[in-house]
């Protein structure tokens, strides 16, 4: 497999990731095979009825409940200094005359840090010992571009432009092909994130309940349509055909999944984020072999009027906390099979700007929800907020490379995989923030 990562460019990699290791059938011939079929032009249309039905498609279900990693990405650059406040730093209040939260307003986490008051749900999880918080986490990216910083983090690279290809989760899924399920990896609420690029079976879902074929009444049974479509999507001839094949598998699985799992006192917020997490919980409960779920939250790009205990940032932390709290309640006993990572592409400048917002900075907060979290104390190397401790732009420096934390989570929680394969450029050791 590693050969494929090295030799393929970004586009061929989408195939390599899926078929590179799948046996002699596909290794090395993925492109020519596809081209051969494309050359037939109306391949499926010409041959359509010759294929066999759904039965031929392999819908693989997980045998036993595995572990699910939920990656929540705070899009736009979340202001870590508002989420987890370093009230022991006099420079915090000095840098933010209007936007600083006072110690009195916030909820103590340890002797140095306190939490934004708008996150009672996360505070409760912290008090239960199910939350690890690491401060001053970031990447090497200094462009302060959303796209560059996200690309770096989602590719799992040192430098998002010169990375080995595909997303870090895609590499993880490819490397740890232990548990085979059509629903191994999903993302909610938008398009497939960069972190899953390079793993074509990953599905971008909208709402779970809406994920079904809508066959006009009186025309035919939906099963018949699934069959007809399955004849067209018999196998891996190109990226979209493969996605269609996988989509049909998911449709069948969801149609047949056990229903009626009620949320146990879980009050999800009526937001996109709340709905997405509710669907993730439903998939976990349904035992469909879900290994990775990506959920976006945000926009956190608070350049202007970010507010303190009310307004933009307060609304965001409130929704984040309520959603995660409901999710954690909903999971009940299944919590022990789930780890949630919360990350963001960068933090924001220490000094507030004149329109009461904050501009793009460097490091921010990284959180992990897990029954074996290392709570009690905010973790991570703290670079400090004194002017001479900040970087040249006036930003909180990176105390911990985000990859060390992700690697730690993979190693301690997910199926065995070589960290080197997932984060090829990582030279430091992983950091375990779950026991």
């Amino acid at each position: 497999m590693s050969e494929n990562w090295k030799t393929c460019d970004g586009s061929a990699l989408e195939y390599a990731a899926r078929y590179g290791e799948a046996g002699s059938d596909w290794a090395g011939v993925h492109v020519s095979r596809r081209q051969a079929i494309v050359r037939l032009g109306l391949g499926a249309l010409g041959l359509g009825l010759a294929g066999s039905a759904l039965a031929q498609a392999t819908f693989r279900a997980a045998k036993k409940p595995g572990h699910t990693l939920v990656v929540v990405f705070l899009r736009g650059g979340a202001d870590g200094l508002s989420l987890v406040v370093p009230h022991f730093e006099p420079d915090y209040a000095r840098a933010r005359p209007q936007l600083a939260l006072s110690e009195r307003q916030t909820k103590p986490l340890d002797s140095r840090f306190s939490m934004h008051p708008g996150m009672p749900g996360l505070l409760e999880i912290w008090q239960e010992g199910h939350l690890s918080i690491v401060h001053a986490v970031g990447s090497s990216d200094t462009t302060r571009s959303h796209f560059e910083a996200m690309r770096t983090m989602e590719t799992g690279a040192f430098d998002g432009r010169r990375h080995t290809g595909g997303g870090w989760l895609a590499r993880f899924l490819t490397e740890s092909d232990a548990m085979e399920s059509t629903l191994r990896a999903v993302s909610f609420g938008g398009m497939l994130p960069e972190s899953l690029r390079g793993y074509p079976p990953a599905m971008a879902l909208g709402r779970l309940d809406d994920f079904r074929l809508q066959v006009p009444e009186g025309v035919a049974q939906d099963g018949e349509w699934l069959n007809d479509l399955a004849k067209l999507y018999t196998g891996p001839k190109d990226l979209l055909a493969e996605a269609g094949h996988e989509t049909l598998g998911v449709l069948k699985m969801l149609r047949d999944r056990p229903k009626g799992q009620a949320a146990q006192g879980a009050a999800y917020p009526e937001t996109e984020f709340g709905r997405s997490l509710k669907d993730v919980a439903a998939l976990v409960h349904a035992d469909l072999g879900l290994e990775v779920a990506c959920v976006d939250h945000g926009i956190w790009d608070t350049h202007a009027a970010q507010g303190t205990t009310e307004g933009w940032i307060a609304n965001n932390v409130g929704d984040l906390s309520a959603g995660l709290h409901a999710f954690w309640q909903d999971l009940g006993e299944r919590r022990k099979n789930v780890t949630v990572v919360v990350q963001t592409e960068f933090g924001r400048r220490v000094n507030e700007n004149v329109v009461l917002g904050t501009d793009h900075g460097r490091s921010s907060v990284f959180m992990v929800l897990d029954t074996k979290a290392r709570g009690g104390k905010v973790l991570g190397d703290w670079p400090g907020l004194k002017p001479d401790q900040l970087d040249e732009e006036g930003d909180l420096r990176v105390g911990t490379d985000y990859r060390r934390l992700l690697a730690g989570v993979l190693k301690s929680r997910m199926s065995p995989v070589s960290v080197q394969k997932v984060f090829p450029e990582l030279t430091e050791t992983e950091v375990n923030v779950v026991n």
Binding site: S11, E14, Q35, V38, R39, G41, L42, G43, A44, L45, G46, G48, L49, R75, T142, T143, R144, S145, F147, E148, R161, G190, M191, L192, R197, P200, A202, M203, A204, L205, G206, R212, L213, Q214, V215, P216, V219, A220, W225, D228, L229, L232, Y233, D238, L239, L240, A241, A243, G244, T247, L251, I299, H303, A304, N353, V354, V355, D359, H360, E393
Partner: protein, 467 residues
């Protein structure tokens, strides 16, 4: 003046007259009826038309056959083909074409969003100048605006439908300058608030990174800051009793001082001209030509893009950013239309392409929700980089495409009309072969004995997912 028009509009809205919208009845006038002879070996023309515009109609395939590809390309580059009168009439009915941003605010936002969709869908489906419409979409991604932010809904129409469309095949430096002056962009990337003592880098950064030179093309953090300062004071008119929603330079907000941008000294006394000077520097910068050429080649040539990019970048430089010159190189390149280019249909391509091929009549209101479900609601990509051109970004949209195909084939989309029988008659082909011909340029085989089920499956097939 503004107030009275606004009152007229509000009064009209109250009477239910505003949004006297394009109707299915009018759209029926656009349906082709005359017999048309299928062309043998049309699949190359079908691919070219899929990539140049929003897909073939039997009439356009025949026209390519008749006048030849090069003459066809020249016609499209000139973009002077007469538009169907009914299309123009329908577009004129939309309030977004008659009123400015301030007046439009009298209408509910969802109504304006509907009209923005209708205008774009009508043009992509019925315009004779398909290349121009494709370019409008390309530039609207390149200069992305999320209408859900900062009153974008109300600002966008003029910036898009007048300014951007008029330069879509013009010159890039002009386009860049229009975008910089556009209220929708000034609001979306916060330059509206970029001012002396409160420099906001958002626009300056994206101008360099996304709009012109491209990331890591030689500019520095310092250039970003200097560029941002050059644009201080570029804002949107919002003073009391002024014609709002237009560009305004406020000298009071301009940060004084000379600047150094990419090694060019920009004099202190230029005022607004500092921003213009930056745009000139960027428009002439080699990295900009390279960046635009790379993106255009990716859109039109897919996997063959990189091999053609240098030639297109050269065309940019020798012509000072003439978009026609670049597009001529691309559209006449031997690799244009190549089978193995791997260009995905995005949802708009998929929806508009199926309408065109089938000769549907539609007011387009029934197409808005499907587009949203397929994850391409128009002008609502939140990040400034525009909707993705990569196939991998669209793998999650397939179920909604199948649902669209089913609803279309079985007549369940509102305000939409077509007939497989009429299509088959016009082409003198059996129904399934007629469907295959208009979609793929080949007669192929029937996937089902029921023509409607065949149509649903053909639209839902892997082949129809690619341009």
């Amino acid at each position: 003046m503004g107030i009275s028009r606004r009152e007229v509009l509000m009064g009209a809205a109250a009477l239910g007259l505003a949004g006297c919208a394009p109707t299915l009845r009018r759209a029926r006038e656009l349906q082709p009826t005359a017999p048309i002879r299928p062309v043998d070996g049309a699949s190359l023309s079908v691919r070219k038309l899929n990539r140049m515009g929003y897909g073939p109609t039997p009439e356009e395939v025949a026209r390519v056959e008749e006048i030849g590809w090069e003459a066809y390309v020249d016609e499209q580059l000139a973009a002077t083909r007469a538009e169907p009168a009914e299309l123009e009439a329908m577009l004129r009915q939309l309030d977004i074409h008659s009123f400015g941003a301030v007046d439009l605010r009298a209408l509910p936002e969802h109504e304006v969003i509907r009209q923005l969709h209708q205008a774009t869908l009508l043009r992509t489906i019925y315009s004779s100048n398909q290349l121009r419409e494709r370019m409008v979409e390309f530039w609207s991604d390149h200069f992305n605006i999320d209408i859900k932010k900062a009153y974008g809904t109300f600002y966008l129409s003029k910036d898009l439908n007048q300014n951007l469309r008029s330069q879509a095949l013009g010159t890039f430096p002009k386009l860049l300058s229009q975008s910089a002056h556009g209220p929708s962009m000034l609001a979306y990337l916060d330059n509206k608030q970029n001012r002396k003592g409160g420099v906001n880098e958002n626009y300056g950064r994206e101008l360099l990174e996304l709009h012109s030179m491209g990331v890591r093309s030689g500019y520095t953090q310092k250039d970003v800051r200097e560029v941002a300062k050059c644009f201080t004071g570029w804002t949107v008119e919002d003073r009391f009793l002024r014609a709002g929603g237009t560009f305004r330079f406020d000298p009071e907000r301009h940060e004084p001082g000379a600047r150094l941008v990419l090694g060019h000294r920009i004099a202190a006394d230029l005022g607004k001209g500092q921003g213009d000077r930056v745009l000139d520097i960027l428009g002439a910068h080699p990295a900009t030509g390279q960046h635009i050429a790379r993106k255009l080649c990716a859109l039109f040539l897919g996997e063959h893009g990189p091999e053609v990019t240098p030639e297109v970048a050269r065309a940019y430089h020798t012509s000072n950013g003439d978009i026609k010159a670049m597009m001529r190189v691309i559209l006449l390149h031997p690799k244009f239309g190549a089978e193995d280019a791997r260009l995905p249909k995005r949802p708009l391509d998929f929806v508009a392409g199926s309408m065109r091929a089938l000769g549907s009549a539609t007011s387009c209101v029934g197409l808005i929700e499907p587009l949203e479900k397929m994850r391409q609601p128009l002008y609502q990509w939140p990040m400034p980089d525009g909707y993705s051109m990569r196939a991998s970004a669209w793998t999650g949209s397939l179920l909604e495409r199948w649902n669209f195909a089913l609803a279309l084939a079985f007549g369940q989309l509102p305000d939409l009309d077509f007939s497989i029988e009429t299509l088959a008659e016009r082409l003198s082909l059996p129904a399934a072969e007629a469907v295959n011909y208009v979609l793929f340029g080949q007669r192929g085989k029937a996937l089902h004995s029921d023509p409607r089920r065949h149509l649903a499956l053909a639209l839902g097939s892997p082949e129809f997912l690619w341009r």
